[in-house]
């Protein structure tokens, strides 16, 4: 006879899970009681949101399913932001929550929350377990849906009496989905795309997260080399296209490069590989790629036509659809797009050297990134530093830049870095946060210390909620309502209280360029030690991120740099 909790853990092992993140509590205690000897390692975070973001970090860097556990009520509701984040960014995630015992469900019992109902619109699939017999099937099906198609979050809510109950257990099961018409794959698209290319004079390629999720990076890179048309990436597509490719124009969207946004505005044929085309990428939807026909390679039909109708949807996994497209392309003669390429990739559209108040911070990030060992992962939180980091990211590693892109959840980076470092113990993990976001999950410094993880943490400290302040400056007449964080605690002292070494670098150190030997040595030492460490970089309070596409503007209407102050 096996307890339900033991069955859960055996089923997790059968799904390949050896690491889970969580926080114990009343209703899930039987599961914690069974952990010892189960083969599943549990990492205790200091908040359930830390657990779910750590599980996301693990999933995003490995492509495997991340697992988070929490108790009923507040434990479960604290997972909600991470679940929403996983939905937006297509992260395979399984959350296991304890629930009050079956007889108490619906009575507003202590720590009872309808987590199934709360997360219904955020999950790809969810179940409230009703009998112990269901457990193996529910876990097998949950993992199947979390990792299949467009990956996403799953919630499995298990009443505590199911975890305590005993039954004969013959072993984990496999889930096989029923076929349905909606699962039919597209075919016969390839000749149409080739014909569209032959009619086009200004084609471009836009690469999103789907490229890395599908594992089709080699196929994509080969295809882009053959196509040889201007290409750019969303924030989640960074690293999918080699930075040195002569046709690569960098990041597209609200804070994308001038070259990428201009080419996207001018194109007559936009080929999208695995991107949702949300408003941060498109700018004003009604003026998005106004001259273009759109071919949209996408695994999730629900993402099609959200902004504007595409002319040719190609439904399926990029690992299948790209090779089919490429082989058709090789059988046909395509126009030479050299003239368009020379315009789109021309020197007059190149990025200008950073100027103004942000210059020292951008130089600092350049120094930091250029001194990273080759095997590295950068995790960015949410805000100005996130966009600066994305703009300066220069690695060709497809899973090397991790951030909360769709939901934009502040507080993501530090716990996500915990998950990334546990998944990649030999990798240099660099966590870049702002002073606002770092405080949202600052308690995870305790997790970093407890596990002795050599995470390198950087706070870009401008003593503001910088991105909101930037919008207030530009669009709300400098009414800095509730964005002043000048009373921040001393982060260096806080880190010391968590027994983590830390130091502060003033932006004056970056006024000199190249940086002094002393500053360079400081950064090198910071990146090379085997202990966790925090570097607080003082950033000008009113530094802004440029280029920027204002809300409601077309991509072609980006602001390229700071407007000069009017003369007094």
């Amino acid at each position: 006879m096996h307890k339900g909790a033991e069955i859960v853990l055996q089923c997790l092992r059968a799904e390949g899970v050896d690491l889970v993140f969580g926080y114990p509590g009343g209703a899930i205690m039987p599961l914690y009681d069974a952990l010892d000897g189960s083969g599943v390692r549990h990492v205790l975070t200091r908040h359930e949101q830390g657990a779910v973001f750590a599980a996301e970090g693990y999933a995003r860097v490995t492509g495997k399913v991340g697992v988070a556990m929490a108790t009923s009520g507040p434990g479960a509701t604290n997972l909600v932001t991470g679940i929403a984040d996983a939905k937006m960014d297509s992260v395979p995630l399984v959350c296991i929550t304890g629930q009050v015992r079956s007889a108490l469900i619906g009575t507003d019992a202590f720590q009872e929350t309808d987590v199934f109902g709360v997360t219904l619109s955020l999950t790809k699939w969810s179940r409230l377990v009703r009998t112990i017999d269901e457990i193996p099937d529910v876990i097998a099906e949950g993992f199947y849906w979390a990792r299949s198609g467009r990956p996403g979050p799953v919630v499995i809510d298990i009443p505590t009496d199911m975890l305590k109950a005993k039954k004969e257990f013959s072993g984990p099961v496999k889930f096989t989905p029923n076929a349905r018409p909606a699962d039919a794959k597209d075919g016969g698209f390839t000749d149409t795309i080739v014909a569209m290319l032959q009619q086009s004079s200004k084609p471009v390629a836009l690469v999103g997260a789907g490229a890395k999720i599908s594992g089709a990076i080699p196929e994509l890179r080969r295809l882009l080399d053959t196509l040889n048309i201007p290409a750019f990436a969303t924030v989640h597509g960074l690293g999918a296209v080699p930075q040195q490719a002569p046709y690569y124009l960098g990041m597209v969207g609200m804070h994308g490069t001038r070259a990428a946004n201009t080419a996207l505005h001018e194109t007559d044929l936009l080929i999208v590989f695995g991107a949702r085309l949300d408003d941060r990428v498109t700018g004003e939807p009604t003026r998005f790629a106004p001259h273009a026909k759109i071919v949209h390679f996408e695994i999730d039909p629900a993402q099609l036509d959200r902004v504007r109708p595409c002319d040719l949807p190609v439904i399926g996994n990029l690992a299948d659809t790209i090779p089919a497209f490429e082989s058709e392309m090789r059988r046909n003669r395509l126009p030479d797009f050299a003239e368009w390429r020379s315009v789109a990739c021309g020197a007059d559209r190149a990025e200008v050297d950073p100027r103004g108040l942000a210059q020292p911070t951008i130089r600092f990030l350049d120094e930091l990134f250029s001194r990273l060992p080759k095997d590295n992962v950068i995790i960015a939180d949410v805000g100005q530093h996130q966009m600066w980091a994305a703009q300066r990211y220069c690695s060709d590693s497809p899973r090397g830049f991790i951030t909360s892109g769709g939901l934009g959840a502040m507080g993501f980076a530090l716990p996500a870095a915990v998950g990334v470092q546990l998944a990649k113990p030999e990798t240099c993990v660099l966590c870049v946060s702002g002073d606002g976001g770092f405080q949202m999950n600052i308690q995870e410094l305790a997790t970093v210390h407890r596990l002795g993880l050599p995470v390198k943490m950087v706070i870009i400290d401008n003593k503001y909620l910088g991105m909101v302040r930037q919008w207030q400056q530009l669009f709300y007449e400098r009414n800095y309502a509730e964005t002043d964080l000048s009373d921040n605690p001393d982060f260096v002292e806080i880190a010391k209280a968590y027994k983590i070494h830390s130091f502060r670098l003033k932006e004056d150190a970056m006024r000199e360029f190249p940086v002094s030997q002393e500053t360079g040595d400081q950064i090198d030492r910071f990146l090379s030690t085997s202990d966790p460490e925090l570097l607080v970089f003082d950033c000008a309070p009113e530094a802004n991120v440029y280029p920027m596409v204002p809300a409601g503007a077309a991509l072609s209407e980006m602001l390229l740099e700071e407007e000069p102050e009017p003369a007094q």
Binding site: S121, W125, R127, L128, P181, P301, A302, Q303, D305, R306
Partner: protein
């Protein structure tokens, strides 16, 4: 084009697993669409829900694709709705407070 011209009747077949009907309805409600008529019933093999919605062509496409992304949805079909389908009293709406009070006292 009058309001009635936008009324579409959707017929969705689904396996009646936990939450599937709610996910189907949520696809409409998250877009701020009113649900003037909903009827769910068991069919020969699966369940079917009929929903009448005031939608434009773009929303129809979005709803189709979102419903098909729900794991236990089997088929989605639609057609123009007749006004008597969605303006008539649905059973719960036909019970007045007075009637229920009378029933409670009986």
């Amino acid at each position: 084009m009058g309001e009635e011209d936008h009324m579409q009747s959707f017929h969705i077949s689904y396996r009646n697993t936990q939450g599937t009907l709610m996910r189907i309805l949520n696809a409409a409600s998250r877009r701020g669409l009113d649900l003037p008529f909903v009827q769910a019933e068991q069919g020969e093999t699966d369940h079917q829900v009929t929903i009448v919605l005031d939608v434009n062509a773009k929303q129809v496409g979005q709803l189709y694709r979102e419903w098909y992304s729900i794991t236990d949805v089997i088929h989605v079909g639609s057609g123009a709705a007749h006004s008597d389908t969605w303006t008539g009293h649905h059973p719960p709406a036909g019970v007045t407070v007075a009637e229920s009070r009378s029933a409670a006292r009986a």
